[in-house]
């Protein structure tokens, strides 16, 4: 896996995780499943890479975790957004919108 692609993916992955948690707490597998569903199976991340991202976000104080029982009846670790996580998500969404809009513009004018 080329590094540039991984880096791009990493920043994006952080944002996607925050987004999936906006609706409520989820465990790791739930997050990966939701990302797949929300992108209508277009985005397929290497599932393991989710965990380093989760720990990083937790370390930065954007999400927090607690152990609980899943709907399937298993003991699992649930992640949820913190206050600063919500704020970060808003900022990330806004700058992403700006960014994709700009890219869109460029792509259109070139044609």
């Amino acid at each position: 896996m080329a590094r540039s692609k991984a880096d791009l993916l990493q920043g994006t992955l952080d944002m996607l995780i925050l987004k999936t948690l906006e609706l409520g707490k989820l465990h790791g597998w739930g997050i990966s499943k939701r990302i797949r569903e929300m992108s209508r199976d277009v985005l397929e991340v290497n599932q393991g890479s989710l965990y380093p991202a989760l720990y990083r976000l937790e370390d930065r104080g954007l999400i927090e975790s607690e152990w609980g029982i899943s709907p399937e009846g298993r003991r699992a670790k649930f992640y949820s957004l913190t206050g600063s996580g919500k704020k970060a998500l808003r900022e990330e969404t806004r700058s992403w919108a700006l960014f994709s809009e700009a890219v869109q513009l460029i792509l259109q004018t070139t044609h």
Binding site: H27, S32, G48, S49, Y51, A76, K77
Partner: protein
């Protein structure tokens, strides 16, 4: 505040690390199980689902590593792990650990011991208040000729110099202490009232001196050392107010110095009596060391100008007793005067021990390097499991730090023993009392330990990072030719060791050659069966010259009657290194120009028996003897060197000279005797003037007693003297051979220490080259086996191994030779009769190192020829 929360979380994670690891395991396992179940719900078989789930998840271990990194406590956790790992590695390799740690301990221990001497003598500020402001004022008439002050000079400075906050005087002396069981000769320092204020050092008990106590007529008082008080009065006795009798004078004890103060301004004395200066009848004698404190803001140069003005002012007032107009009162930093000329030797010693440390480090680096390559496979495996390069680098660094810390710890213990030996076996060095293993020294030890860790860890590090990990994994870490870079590194280390060993060895050989030549110098007397001892007359019975002459007139024949005594004499000097008094004089028929400096030579007071006892020959004329008295004209004998220097090729008998700045009453030369060394064996000027004690009586003299086979004891001499006067102590009893040996104590000390360092360096270098060659032979067993299977002769194999080792050593010798030729110039001042680039010594050193290198190469080469081609080739 965010960072605080973060920090708290990290600490919590750190404390509960194993739980976190477990949770991470659980979490990832759960994820994969849920994925499998999900896939099975969509109709896959369990096997297929499992395969797909693992594929989708990716490398579990890799994400765990990344997950740990993401938590930010990674480095701390790893560090702990690294240390545990290092400890485990060391436990598994006790041989390697022992050798490497011991090598480091030797290097660090020796460096620490030498540094503590260098620090105590050279670097530490003097233990006085604001010591940078303290100077010693001396008379000087040429850059090399200095002497102390007279009462006239001292009082002129006290009254006339404006540069000083305070001025004080010290007269170094020895005095006879009576009143105990036996008369005793003790070191004393007579000091003026301002002494303790000038140094800013006050007695721990009682008081220092009061203004006016140094005026004639005031009560005589004294301060004593702590050691003297304990010895003389016992630990608890009341000391203040007691009376001490020194040279027949009573002194009241008013103060006791702190236990640590054994010497002041470089003079080690037990009693510090008040110095009362009588109004001077003439400019001389010169016996006062003036210690002064510069005023704030006054530089030494300004003080020198101020003092030069004082010299100018007093010169005309005393011109009839002192004609040297060029003599100037000059200030010198107290520290420089105290340290004297040992600075160069100590710096040299420190340089030598640093070389030893570097050689030790090169050896440890080589050891770790060899070990690192056998671990290539382990390293490669860890790298492929996801350990980052940084992580592996740190692991290696932690290992070398742990090793160095171990070496530093053992080294510190070794240095305690080494320092003790250095101090107790060594000669008296200035400021030696201040040498100790204190916080400063331990700080230095910590520094060199860390530097050692970095330096010895560097080589394996370079190697570990650059090696091709994939290749290492495939090759199995056992066979195959090794990386060229690793070989070059190893060869480079061997080269460096020899390059460092050569200057060390060259220094040692030069110093020993110099010592040998010094010991072969003819001292001018026969040291066999010769005893030298100091006898001193004290008390009120010897106030005038006649009584002193009377005592010796009675004592000398009595001593000659002791069975076994062949000849007895007395002398104010003690060869080979104590000239007693150095006196200036002017030749009556060839006076120096007015106002310029007169020549000065040892002026030795003797009895006629001295020449016989010493084996000094009369060459011309007669000896001064007991027929020369206060009532007859003053006569002297001179050494043949004196005659040559002042009257080359001419007759000296009957020549006259004015002694000690006098302008009347000349003395006449009546004899010439053979030369004797009085200013050290290395001293090259043997010009001496001898005068009879019957015309110039001294109260404290050296007795020289020649025995006839049977040994004469100090007790016999003492009982003869004490039969005449029970208050005459006999001290410093030594054989002339002991005196000769003691006179070269310092050169022997330097040579021995550098010699030890050179020997250690040589052994380490030999071990280094041996280790590297053995290692590469074992690594190349397969290659050698193939060559031998293809028909290579044993001798060719041996030649190639020896050739490689010698090549590395020879390169080192070349570099070392160039370095040594440059470095040994620093030895110049320490060498006698041998040039710092002496070709014979350098030839010997190069030869010795080559032989050692050859011997160290031979065994690995022999082992190479013993390689069994069948065995190594089938071993794969």
């Amino acid at each position: 505040m965010e960072w605080m929360k973060r920090l708290a979380r990290r600490i919590r994670i750190l404390l509960t690390r194993s739980r976190v690891e477990r949770e991470m395991d659980d979490e990832m396992r759960l994820h994969i199980e849920m994925e499998i179940e999900d896939l099975m719900r969509r109709g896959m078989s369990r096997e297929e689902a499992r395969r797909k789930a693992l594929l989708r998840f990716g490398g579990v271990e890799r994400y765990k590593e990344q997950g740990r990194d993401a938590r930010g406590v990674r480095w701390l956790v790893d560090m702990g792990q690294d240390f545990r790992y290092a400890a485990r590695t060391f436990r598994k390799n006790p041989g390697y650990t022992f050798v490497a740690a011991l090598t480091l301990a030797l290097g660090i221990g020796a460096t620490t011991a030498i540094f503590s001497v260098v620090d105590g003598v050279l670097l530490k500020p003097l233990p006085y208040h604001d010591p940078g402001q303290l100077v010693i004022v001396s008379q000087q008439n040429s850059p090399t000729n200095r002497w102390p002050l007279s009462v006239v000079d001292y009082q002129a400075i006290e009254e006339g110099a404006r540069s000083f906050e305070s001025v004080s005087g010290l007269s170094r002396s020895r005095a006879v202490l009576t009143g105990g069981d036996q008369p005793e000769r003790v070191a004393v320092g007579y000091v003026t009232a301002e002494w303790f204020n000038t140094l800013g050092l006050h007695p721990a008990e009682g008081r220092g001196f009061l203004p006016g106590e140094d005026q004639p007529g005031a009560e005589l008082v004294a301060v004593i050392s702590h050691a003297f008080r304990e010895r003389q009065y016992g630990r608890d006795a009341e000391t203040l107010g007691r009376t001490l009798v020194l040279d027949g004078q009573g002194y009241t004890v008013v103060g006791v110095l702190a236990p640590g103060v054994r010497s002041m301004a470089g003079w080690r004395a037990e009693i510090w009596p008040i110095l009362q200066l009588q109004p001077p009848p003439r400019r001389g004698p010169f016996f006062i060391q003036a210690v002064a404190r510069l005023r704030d803001g006054v530089s030494q140069a300004e003080a020198a100008r101020d003092l030069a003005g004082v010299s100018e002012r007093i010169f005309p007032l005393w011109a009839d007793s002192f004609q040297d107009r060029e003599a100037r009162l000059t200030p010198f930093p107290l520290r420089d005067v105290m340290v004297g000329n040992v600075g160069g030797a100590l710096v040299l010693l420190f340089g030598a021990v640093i070389f030893v440390l570097l050689i030790a480090l090169a050896n440890v680096a080589n050891l770790s390097l060899a070990r690192a390559s056998t671990r290539e496979r382990e390293v490669a495996l860890r790298a492929s499991l996801g350990a980052s390069r940084g992580r592996l680098t740190r692991q290696l660094l932690v290992e070398s730090i742990t090793l160095a810390a171990l070496g530093g710890l053992v080294g510190t213990l070794l240095s305690v023993i080494a320092l003790d030996a250095l101090l107790s076996l060594g000669p008296q060095l200035p400021r030696i009392d201040e040498v100790r293993l204190d916080g400063r020294v331990l700080g230095f030890t910590a520094f060199i330990t860390i530097a050692s860790a970095v330096l010895s860890g560097l080589a394996p590090l370079i190697h570990g990072i650059s090696s091709d990990l994939g290749a290492a994994l495939r090759s199995g870490g056992r066979t195959g030719s090794e990386g060229r870079r690793a070989n070059a590194l190893r060869g480079g280390l061997v080269t460096a060791e020899f390059a460092l060993a050569l200057p060390l060895l060259a220094g040692a050989v030069l110093l020993f050659t110099s010592l040998e030549r010094l010991q072969k110098v003819d001292p001018g007397f026969d040291p066999e069966n010769l005893i030298v001892a100091r006898a001193s007359l004290a008390g009120n019975r010897y106030q005038d010259g006649t009584s002193v002459v009377g005592f010796w007139d009675n004592a000398l024949p009595g001593l000659a009657e002791i069975p076994g005594v062949e000849a007895v004499g007395l002398s104010s000097a003690a060869p080979p290194n104590n000239p007693g008094m150095i006196n200036n004089f002017d030749l009556r028929d060839r006076p120096v120009p007015p106002g310029s400096s007169q020549p000065a030579v040892p002026w030795v007071i003797v009895s006629p028996g001295y020449f016989e006892a010493m084996g000094v020959r009369l060459l011309q004329g007669r000896l001064p003897d007991i027929t020369d008295t206060f009532d007859t004209p003053r006569v002297v004998a001179v050494s043949s060197r004196w005659a040559e220097r002042f009257y080359p090729g001419e007759d000296v008998l009957g020549r006259q000279l004015y002694a000690g700045g006098a302008t009347t009453n000349p003395v006449t030369v009546v004899g010439v005797v053979s030369d004797v060394k009085y200013q050290g064996l290395a001293g090259d000027d043997e010009s001496v003037v001898y005068e009879s004690y019957t015309q110039n009586p001294w109260r404290s003299v050296n007795l020289v007693i020649r025995g006839r086979g049977t040994s004469v004891t100090a007790a016999q001499v003492r009982s003869r003297l004490n039969a005449l006067d029970p208050d005459v102590p006999l001290s410093n009893v030594q054989t002339a051979e002991q005196r000769l040996a003691a006179s070269v104590d310092r050169p022997r000390y330097w040579a021995t220490l550098v010699g030890i360092f050179a020997a250690v360096g040589l052994v380490l270098a030999a071990v280094g080259i041996y280790g590297v060659l053995s290692y590469s032979v074992s690594k190349q067993a397969r290659e050698i086996g193939i060559r031998m299977a293809l028909g290579a002769q044993a001798s060719a194999v041996r030649r190639s191994v020896v050739g490689r080792g010698l090549g590395q050593a020879a390169l080192g010798l070349g570099v070392g030779l160039a370095g040594a030729l440059y470095l040994t110039r620093w030895l110049e001042g320490l060498l006698f009769g041998v040039s710092p680039t002496d070709p014979a010594s350098f030839g010997l050193v190069v030869l010795l190192l080559l032989v050692v290198a050859l011997a160290a190469c031979y065994w690995p080469a022999r082992r190479a020829t013993k390689v069994d081609p069948v065995r190594v080739l089938t071993e794969e």
